[in-house]
Symmetry: none
Subunit: 188 residues, 2 copies
């Protein structure tokens, strides 16, 4: 449907989406890349996410997440973890918004009464993820490079082709859930 409300857009003067602020951050020279700590969905990504969320299919779970991530990666850097977190937060936030506010007078345009799916079926993502991770079972000789990184925001931006690489990053190893496992550091 065509109902794409701008959820959490509070008093925003509709700047965020309407006023496409072109590529944030990187912009111009691209030196501004000092630290991208937390992912910020681009308008397009956000739109897609919300649409999916509105479809009410519940938590995407694995494969779905991967798919979504892939799609979104076409529009900017993103990772499965980001997607997962986004859905988690989204759901929690919606729920809370509903029950918490008391008699929320949704008079203005602050509505957003989305509140999860009508079914509210806690859809357990246990469907069938046919977990077949080829996984290098090499216990001993497993010289797995294990890059362990994620969110390479900038380069992706600076190099249009980067997106492809990134995509590749998550593709190959069908490890598992999107959970945080991705961007944890191995340093120190």
């Amino acid at each position: 449907l065509s109902k794409i409300e701008q959820h959490a857009l509070p008093a925003t003067s509709g700047t965020r989406l309407g006023n496409l602020y072109c590529d944030p951050l990187i912009t111009s020279a691209g030196h501004r890349i000092s630290g991208r700590q937390r992912w910020t969905p681009t308008p397009v990504q956000l739109q897609i996410l919300e649409r999916i969320f509105d479809q009410g299919n519940g938590t995407p779970s694995k494969q779905k997440i991967k798919d979504i991530t892939f799609e979104l990666s076409q529009h900017g850097q993103i990772s499965e973890t980001n997607v997962y977190n986004w859905f988690q937060n989204r759901r929690a936030r919606s729920k809370r918004k509903q029950q918490g506010g008391g008699a929320m007078n949704n008079v203005e345009s602050e509505v957003e009464t989305e509140v999860e799916s009508p079914n509210e079926k806690k859809t357990k993502p246990e469907d069938l993820q046919s977990s077949h991770m080829p996984t290098s079972r090499a216990e001993e000789g497993n010289s797995n490079p294990a890059g362990s990184f994620d969110q390479l925001s900038f380069y992706a931006m600076s190099n249009p082709r980067m997106g492809q690489l990134i995509e590749k990053m998550e593709e190959p190893t069908s490890y598992h859930p999107y959970l945080h496992t991705e961007n944890y550091d191995m340093t120190s």
Copy 2:
């Protein structure tokens, strides 16, 4: 606060694994590795874990976990996730045991109620956490032990330009948890 309402889990019971999980990994070795088993620490592993736990260094997090995992992997299949979960559960369980067990008296138990790491507070320092970059310079000596799971982002990253961009590598302190691993292969 009280408990939230229990999830009314659809009690889908059974069906979950039915035949889908039939991953006949069945081992060649004869160990019961059905694919979706839950990890069971071997006595040795357990011993090590408990010893570490008793040291009271709190949650190991990151590097520590990796190290521990590596060590434990010498005694049986295991993953960082397992280790992480174990510590999580351990701590939670201890705490619960203490308070709910009976006496509410907050006596001076030397228990590990709030141990945490001596040096850092829960790895939540405001130092800086800008870990998003794949360190081009893969950790030398990164002898990835039977990692075989979780993020393996290889990413070639042979773009010299990258170095320029990555001006801030800093030290990703700690970040994430290891999440739940849906299914890892347990080929032991």
